[in-house]
Symmetry: C2
Subunit: 151 residues, 2 copies
DNA sequence: CTAACTGCAAAGTGTTTGCACTCTT
DNA sequence: AAGAGTGCAAACACTTTGCAGTTAG
């Protein structure tokens, strides 16, 4: 919704370079262009749409490279995916209202009883025209087995 | 996490039958077996895993039928999908902490500034061994354009 | 120089579709 | 009957993989 200023982009790209060095990642031309495209875009772009932007600057780039790099970025916390459970349809079997705990490592989903939470409260109303139907909270972290020091 | 009692299953299947009648959906054998399998399973099953269960009772059933019916169930509110944005990878461009509003109709995702919300509070701690890293709220409803009476 | 990265094409997933046949109503 | 639903196979979209060649450190 907000414009992104050039200074933000530059700052984020600069931090990106540092993060790559810190993580031992090569700073390739492709890598940087992809990251820059990402931070210059707004909303929640798909790999394809990022590819479309990047291709204007590196016509020979392949979609696979975009995918590989986005995955690398995610793995190193350089960007984030909108949802931990994209990829495949999953159905609810629990018909009672509840929230979810998603393990960032094994991706397993655990139900969290609704009454474990204080009701979520808005400080102000949603932007005009938006009609709220329901709201659910997603907790992210490590589940019991993934959090064990051994594993 | 909890066992599902037979009485719950029967009650839900009975309601299902009624819902189908109300919605003008044919009550086929396959349909009912699929629904029953779903409510008898626990957690967040995939279409494949439901297919596996159903196949034991109707060996000739096809995976496509399972998919078609699950979609029908979702469309009629007879069950719910775990995440509205499974399907394809989407990246965040907004690096500030924020929540999401997802339009149930057009599936568009809108960022909701973190400070619009009272912080989410737990009444008790999470089950032992779970390590919380972050938490984000997903609002669902109709967005501005989908909520217009015209559309 | 070496390990990491890229581009390509091919292979994988998970999911949908078209169509002839079969059931529910 | 008529329309809705089913099974099959083929088509799809999205993503990953293997590998030979290239580049960063």
């Amino acid at each position: 919704m907000n414009q992104i200023s050039h200074i933000d982009v530059e700052a984020r790209v600069e931090r990106f370079r540092q993060d790559c060095r810190d993580a031992g990642l090569s700073l390739t031309h492709q890598r940087e262009i992809i990251f820059r495209a990402l931070v210059e875009m707004h909303g929640h772009p798909s790999p394809e749409s990022i590819y479309g932007v990047v291709k204007r600057q590196i016509p020979a780039i392949s979609l696979a490279t975009v995918y590989k790099n986005l995955k690398t970025f995610i793995d190193h916390g350089l960007t984030r995916e909108v949802s931990l459970h994209h990829g495949a349809l999953r159905l609810e079997t629990n018909s009672a209202p509840h929230h979810h705990f998603v393990c960032v490592r094994c991706k397993e989903i655990f139900d969290i009883d609704e009454e474990l939470l204080q009701p979520v409260e808005l400080r102000r109303t949603l932007p005009d025209g938006f009609r709220l139907q329901r709201c659910s909270v997603e907790f992210q972290g490590l589940c019991r087995s993934c959090g064990k020091p051994s594993s």
